[in-house]
């Protein structure tokens, strides 16, 4: 009986051929096996199942962050490989890896860092913090939240399975056709890239809808929009960006996959296809995407700077307007990613000018943060140090962005290492430093103990120095005429030296990451000593600090009533003024039951993706049917919540509050 159809185009050739990819695959598989072994040894399967099927945003948030951190290690490993290659492959040397491997590595690096590290950290922090900050119990759609996470995880899994079976796309993180069409890349690599992003993208879109409805519908009574913390505002505009941008990604990747799977001609060289259309569409998504990443980071800084300056945020209203300005503008700048594609002087000028206008509200925000410090009492704990690192670093990236917004300048530096330096500058300096600040800031609320300060501070310094040493040389190299994505080069003078310096820089960054891992391990080791007994380790201003640490599974025993901005600060001030406190009146509440359907939908989504990549059509059909059945089962189930009675609630509340002095 011929079973070839069952495996599609999957053969033993799909296993890695080069030593480095074999090594990576083995490392990955061994790590996975180690985790499984640990679960058996510590008998934690039931515990794990409760986590995986949880609809509690706080648990989902932790899972997002865990995936993102693991992916950051993978992305850093990719970065080290790229730097090593470019430091060595001068003149006749071909470096350590084949051209194809290097191209897969930098494509994987970009894809993983944007989609699984940055998006993962972002969705993780939003899940952990947003409901608490709004005085809510959970997000608007806890089940959809779980589905979103699992789709994200499946996308991540697909991207990593490519290391073991078939290899990844060598087409860059945005996969421009016609290079990513069947004519030039018929293998599974590009398909892995497409479906990992497509599946994770659906998850992101659902999250965008979820968080927007949460902000609009689930705020505590009395919390008008203008009384929300600024982090919540930053998430609101981010969800608007997600809602408008991600469908474009879905459509574009969909059309590229139709070109590849069904021989269509959207973006092919022949048949009337138009690759320029892809570039326009993908950047119409791509530019809002980078603002999706950075605006939550800005929101985090607004919270951190105010709290650690012990002062109100300067210019709340302006900050909100600036967010909306940036959001609106980010939809009309996308052409600056391809000034050199020949749209003509007027079109280029228009998009260049809209791009440079974005610098204005962004700059305003930086001034507002700095003037929040003015006449405050600034404590330089780790989150505040990350803010300082952000201003120092991101400003340079902002400047290089404004320089490139001038089309005639961009004609010289487009796609060079100058560009690479710019976007790493703003993403590391803005997005990553912001998320690191958030992780350090909110860690005690999630886990109940603080992170080690000394190691945290060292990691900040390592990241700043590492960043400068790794990326300032890249600005220079770009101006010296070095284009991006080279796997070898003839060195006309000075290139290799600068590549080596950049390589040292990435090692310093890796040291910074190592220090962060150490910080985590040491903090866990010292957790009893570092316990957050008050729930308010930073003298915070917003509602999440009003609940015990770690936050109870129901968030608030009694939904708070809000009267002012900085609601928790106001509560504390009221207590200081000896205002009469209302006696707590407990009422029964409804909470979502656990559900395994999110996980199962993820599994079927994996089937669809894997099946499409390897042309295993039966698997695709199975996956589609599976997803449909799951949806029907869930929608036919009207008992998805359970009731926590008032007495039980009171018991929990008193117990949590008693555990803390």
């Amino acid at each position: 009986m011929n079973l070839d159809w069952a495996l599609g185009r999957l053969t033993l050739d799909a296993l890695p051929q080069e030593l480095v990819t074999q090594g990576g695959a083995v490392l990955m598989i061994l790590s996975g096996l180690a985790v499984v072994a640990a679960l058996f040894y510590f008998k934690r399967w039931r515990w794990l199942w409760r986590w995986l099927t949880s609809l509690d945003a706080k648990k989902i948030g932790v899972m997002y962050v865990v995936v993102a951190v693991i992916m950051m290690l993978r992305g850093l490993a990719d970065a080290l490989m790229i730097r090593a290659q470019q430091a060595l492959a001068a003149g006749d040397s071909t470096g350590l890896f084949s051209s194809d491997t290097v191209q897969q590595v930098f494509s994987a690096h970009g894809t993983i860092m944007i989609f699984f590290v940055a998006m993962g950290l972002m969705f993780g922090l939003i899940n952990l913090v947003l409901p608490l900050m709004l005085g809510a119990r959970d997000v608007a759609f806890p089940f959809v939240n779980s589905v979103s996470f699992w789709l994200f995880a499946v996308g991540m899994v697909l991207a990593n399975v490519s290391l073991v079976l078939g290899g990844f796309s060598p087409g860059g993180w945005l996969g421009y056709p016609p290079l990513t069409e069947m004519a030039y890349n018929p293998g599974p690599g590009v398909d892995y890239w497409i479906w990992a992003l497509q599946i994770a993208g659906v998850g992101s879109l659902l999250s965008g809808i979820n968080f927007l409805v949460t902000i609009l519908k689930k705020r505590a009574p009395g919390m008008t929009l203008m009384k929300m913390p600024l982090f919540a505002w930053s998430i609101l505009v981010t969800t608007l960006l997600i809602i408008f941008a991600f469908p474009i990604l879905t459509a574009t990747l969909g059309m590229l996959s139709l070109d590849r799977l069904m021989d269509m001609h959207f973006f092919t060289s022949d048949g009337g296809g138009n690759p320029m259309m892809y570039i326009n569409l993908i950047w119409a998504w791509g530019h809002p995407e980078v603002y999706i990443l950075v605006l939550p980071a800005f929101g985090i800084f607004s919270e951190v700077v105010a709290t650690f300056s012990r002062k109100k945020l300067f210019g709340y209203g302006t900050m909100v307007w600036a967010l909306f300005g940036i959001t609106f503008l980010s939809f009309i700048v996308w052409l600056h990613h391809f000034f050199t594609m020949g749209a003509g002087a007027n079109v280029n000028a228009f998009f260049g000018i809209t791009t440079m206008i974005i610098a204005i509200p962004t700059g305003v925000k930086i001034f507002n943060w700095i003037f929040t410090m003015y006449r405050g009492r600034v404590r330089f704990s780790v989150p505040m140090l990350w803010f300082m690192a952000f201003v120092i670093t991101f400003t340079i990236g902002g400047v290089s962005g404004v320089l490139m917004s001038v089309p005639a300048i961009d004609f010289q530096v487009h796609n060079s290492l100058f560009l690479v330096a710019h976007f790493h500058n703003v993403i590391i300096g803005g997005v990553i430093f912001g998320f690191f600040a958030g992780l350090n800031y909110w860690f005690p609320k999630v886990f109940g103990f603080t992170l080690h300060e000394g190691l945290g501070k060292l990691s900040v310094y390592a990241w700043i120095v590492g960043f400068m040493v790794a990326f300032l040389p890249l600005y220079a190299l770009g101006l010296m005429g070095v284009t991006r994505r080279l796997d070898h080069y003839t060195d006309p003078g000075g290139w290799q030296v600068l590549f080596i310096v950049a390589g040292v820089g990435v090692l310093i960054i890796a040291l910074g990451a190592g220090l962060q891992i150490l910080q985590l391990i040491v903090s866990i080791w010292q957790r009893k000593k570092r316990r957050d007994t008050t729930g308010d380790p930073w003298d915070g201003r917003t509602l999440e600090w009003s609940v015990p640490s770690p936050a109870p599974f129901y968030n608030f025993a009694i939904t708070p009533k809000v009267t002012e901005r900085d609601a928790f600060w106001e509560q504390k001030e009221a207590i200081k003024r000896h205002e009469k406190q209302e006696k707590p009146k407990y009422q029964s509440i409804m909470l979502p039951k656990n559900s395994s359907i999110g996980l199962i939908v993820g599994g079927f989504a994996f089937c669809i993706g894997f099946g499409l990549i390897w042309h295993m059509w039966w698997l695709v059909a199975l996956g589609l049917v599976g997803v449909i059945v799951c949806v029907i089962v869930r929608c036919s189930n009207d008992t998805v919540e359970y009731e926590l009675s008032a007495t039980e609630l009171e018991k929990f509340d008193k117990q949590y509050r008693r555990q803390h002095a």
Binding site: A140, F141, K218, H265, G272, G273, M277, L281
Partner: protein, 195 residues
């Protein structure tokens, strides 16, 4: 139902309506991206025929009438649901299904005819975008029909609960939305193709 459950249910309905509206907006943008691509690529026939040569307007007009009727009877089903007339609701929903399915059958037959004549989606960028845009709408219709079956079955089994009424309302939103998309397709693809 306890008081907590009742309050939660009412709030859930409002929340779910808002969430679904926002989802429809995202679906709008999905279609907009494919529309934009169609408009850019519609002249790229790669030496082959364009819309003017291929579209059968009377046929398309019949399709349009079928879909509009389907939407209309769906509206009647909603009215009957407000009045809690279970039999009428199920009847009108079955009619919705029949008209919607007829639309889809006609559309598929148009596709099969084109493919048979050698004007499949592989032939040119124009045809790729045509099949994808119209096919995307058709896929949405198919999902809607499946959803409709589940809703009919649920109403038969459970009657008018908060959940089933809510889902019926959301379905009708979805169905009317697809109608609007079809009007856009009719105008931009077919009408502007033959003019």
């Amino acid at each position: 139902m306890s008081q907590a459950e009742r309050a939660a249910e009412a709030e859930q309905t409002q929340t779910k309506y808002l969430g679904f509206w926002i989802y429809l907006m995202t679906d709008c943008i999905l279609f907009a991206s494919v529309f934009a691509t169609y408009i850019v690529l519609r002249e790229n026939t790669f030496g082959g025929p364009g819309g003017g040569e291929l579209f059968d307007m009377p046929f398309v007009l019949i399709q349009t009438l079928l879909l509009l009727t389907s939407s209309f009877v769906c509206g009647l089903a909603l009215l009957a649901a407000r009045a809690r007339k279970k039999a009428a609701v199920i009847g009108w929903l079955i009619a919705t299904f029949i008209f919607g399915a007829a639309f889809l059958v006609l559309e598929l037959s148009e596709f099969i005819k084109l493919i048979g004549e050698g004007h499949g989606w592989q032939a040119s960028a124009f045809l790729s975008s045509f099949f994808t845009l119209v096919g995307l709408h058709g896929a949405h219709i198919a999902v809607g029909l499946l959803w409709l079956v589940v809703i009919v079955w649920q109403i038969m089994r459970l009657g008018f609960t908060a959940g089933t009424t809510r889902r019926l309302t959301l379905f009708s939103l979805f169905w009317h939305f697809l109608d609007v998309i079809w009007i856009c397709i009719f105008t931009i693809v077919y009408l502007m193709g033959v003019l």
